[in-house]
Amino acid sequence: MTHTTINVLRTIIIISSILLSFILVPIIGLYVNQTILTLAIISLIFGISTLGWNLLLGYGGMWFYGQIGVFGLSAYTYGLASRNIDPWLSFILSIIISIVSITIISLLSIRLKFAYFALATFAFNLLVSAIIIAIYPANVIFQIPRLYINIFGYRLRFDEYNSIPYYILLLLITITFLYIQKRMLNSSLGIRFIALKENENRALSLGMDPLKVRLPFVLVSVIFTSIAGSIYAQYLGSVSQSIFSLDIFIAFLTILSLGGIGTFYGPLAASILWTIIDFWLSLYIAQYKLIILSIVTIVVLMYLRSGIGGLIDLISARLMRIETMRQQIKE
């Protein structure tokens, strides 16, 4: 295998996994078992949110703990907005509201570092849930209107009995997000972003403005998390205050640590794995689910430090190195 072969192989794997996920999963969902579609949708929603978190926490070294706040805020905003205005427009509204609130919290806490930043953003979760409970005291928003598209006069409705449109939509969003993330991280802005994590003092001495470098990444992360939150509300058809509970935060955390903090595909792969494990465990031992997942998370954080994504990186790096050595021997 030469380097080009490895690259071709990688492209083939990526393209075939995209094709498989576009074709195979809906077919299985239609003809064999519908559960797979539900699992796929949930894993994509959680995967997008965790990818967004990973972009800030893993690549940027920002101890952003407000992910669940953004997720819940957009789900709630979506739920409230879509009952009054068009369901598609509500997506934009919830994105705008999340961006505004995150900008406020970032401006307040931009001087803080590490744990202080973490706590200030952790506070954001609480602030959001307190405000929402004050504004909308009823516990649950029911009957969020379903999305629909008109294609050549045929009305395609998104609902729980026909969840393939949700799946395709989420898949498109995930691919877009991965593409944008890749382009951003490979650009000079991305290099500066990572430099700020690796050695902040050095990066500052070179004249980088942390706010200017980090803001685009924060915006991208917030936008996609917000979309994921809105689709979560839209897919479930209802939102409750339990969305701010620690349980979803722990779920994100488990996915992130399983996938590997600061790896590219890790969070997505781990999200799929987590959804399957979670579903399987809640079928048989629902009570001990959290405990088992917690132990797995702790063990992964302690011993398998870069998670699944780290394994993928390790294998491809190993392949590359073997190839380089072989060429050197030839020469």
Partner: protein, 289 residues
């Protein structure tokens, strides 16, 4: 009731609650400044202490024996340190990963308590039942007992940290790790004992607050957040700062829940924290770390 009586009632209850929060926040602050461990499991440890207390009390019916919950939590802390944190110390970005581990650990303890005891509310019986009345004001004796116990413990802790060799060692490790290694301090033992003490302080706070309020496995979450606010407000690693901050925040918390409403009091405390972070990012008494 007149304004003065209102105010004095608020003062008394916020003094008792502030002392409890001070115990908790000092534990957090010690762990943070010595080990760089940001312990998100502190609330669960607090409730764990209270549950062990209740369990021993129910099975033996002996109040004094129930206080053996405290050494049990101490051993638990050392065991957790040996099992998890000791292995994480030298790894890269261990602070972040330790913080994530404690978050998960806290959730795990909550869930275990939930499975074993059920989600129902428990309460520790009051140590001394009765009222003390000053004028029109009736004060539950429990509040006074708690204030005295926690004040005594705070004085003991102060003496331990500032006037014993072990306390000196703990402070030294927090200030400069390399230097204290050069002086031949046994870092691992000091870390283990610090974790134990931090957990013990949390569990004492849990036992004391459990004798005023009812609690269930998840009721450690709000005290955790409040003690974080206190630690940040007072400055990490500063004893006086944490102490002063806990009384200020407790006064603010109790006062705002009395005048504005209970659901807003945490919100007010958080706004206070954000304000302090924006003006003085290292807390009112904290040194730049």
């Amino acid at each position: 009731m007149s304004i003065i009586e209102d105010m004095s009632a608020i003062m008394i209850s916020s003094f008792a609650i502030g002392s409890i929060y001070a115990l908790m926040a000092l534990g957090l602050s010690m762990l943070w400044s010595t080990l760089d461990l940001i312990n998100f499991a502190h609330g669960s440890i607090m409730i764990l202490g209270a549950y062990i207390f209740v369990y021993i009390l129910m099975s033996t019916n002996n109040l004094l024996l129930a206080f053996s919950a405290i050494p049990i939590v101490f051993l638990f802390g050392i065991a957790i340190y040996k099992m998890i944190f000791e292995k994480m110390l030298k790894t890269e970005d261990s602070i972040l990963k330790n913080a994530l581990i404690t978050l998960v650990l806290g959730a795990m303890i909550e869930q275990l308590l939930n499975i074993y005891f059920g989600g129902t509310y428990e309460k520790i019986p009051e140590f001394i039942v009765g009222y003390v009345s000053i004028g029109n004001l009736k004060i539950a004796t429990q509040y006074i007992v708690i204030s005295f116990i926690s004040l005594g413990l705070l004085i003991l802790l102060y003496l331990f940290i500032f006037y014993t060799k072990y306390g000196l060692a703990i402070r030294a490790v927090g200030q400069n790790l390399q230097e204290s290694l050069l002086c031949g301090l046994n870092i691992k033992n000091i870390y283990a004992v610090t974790v134990g003490i931090g957990f013990v302080l949390a569990s004492i706070a849990g036992i004391l607050s459990g004798s005023i309020y009812i609690f269930n496995p998840v009721s450690g979450r709000i005290p955790l957040l409040i003690s974080y606010i206190i630690v940040i407000f007072g400055g990490v690693g500063s004893f006086t700062g944490t102490l002063v901050a806990s009384y200020i925040i407790a006064l603010l918390y109790v006062g705002s829940s009395y005048y504005i409403g209970g659901s807003w009091s945490l919100f007010v405390a958080y706004l206070m924290m954000l304000l302090i972070l924006a003006i003085r990012p290292y807390g009112i008494f904290g040194a730049k770390r």
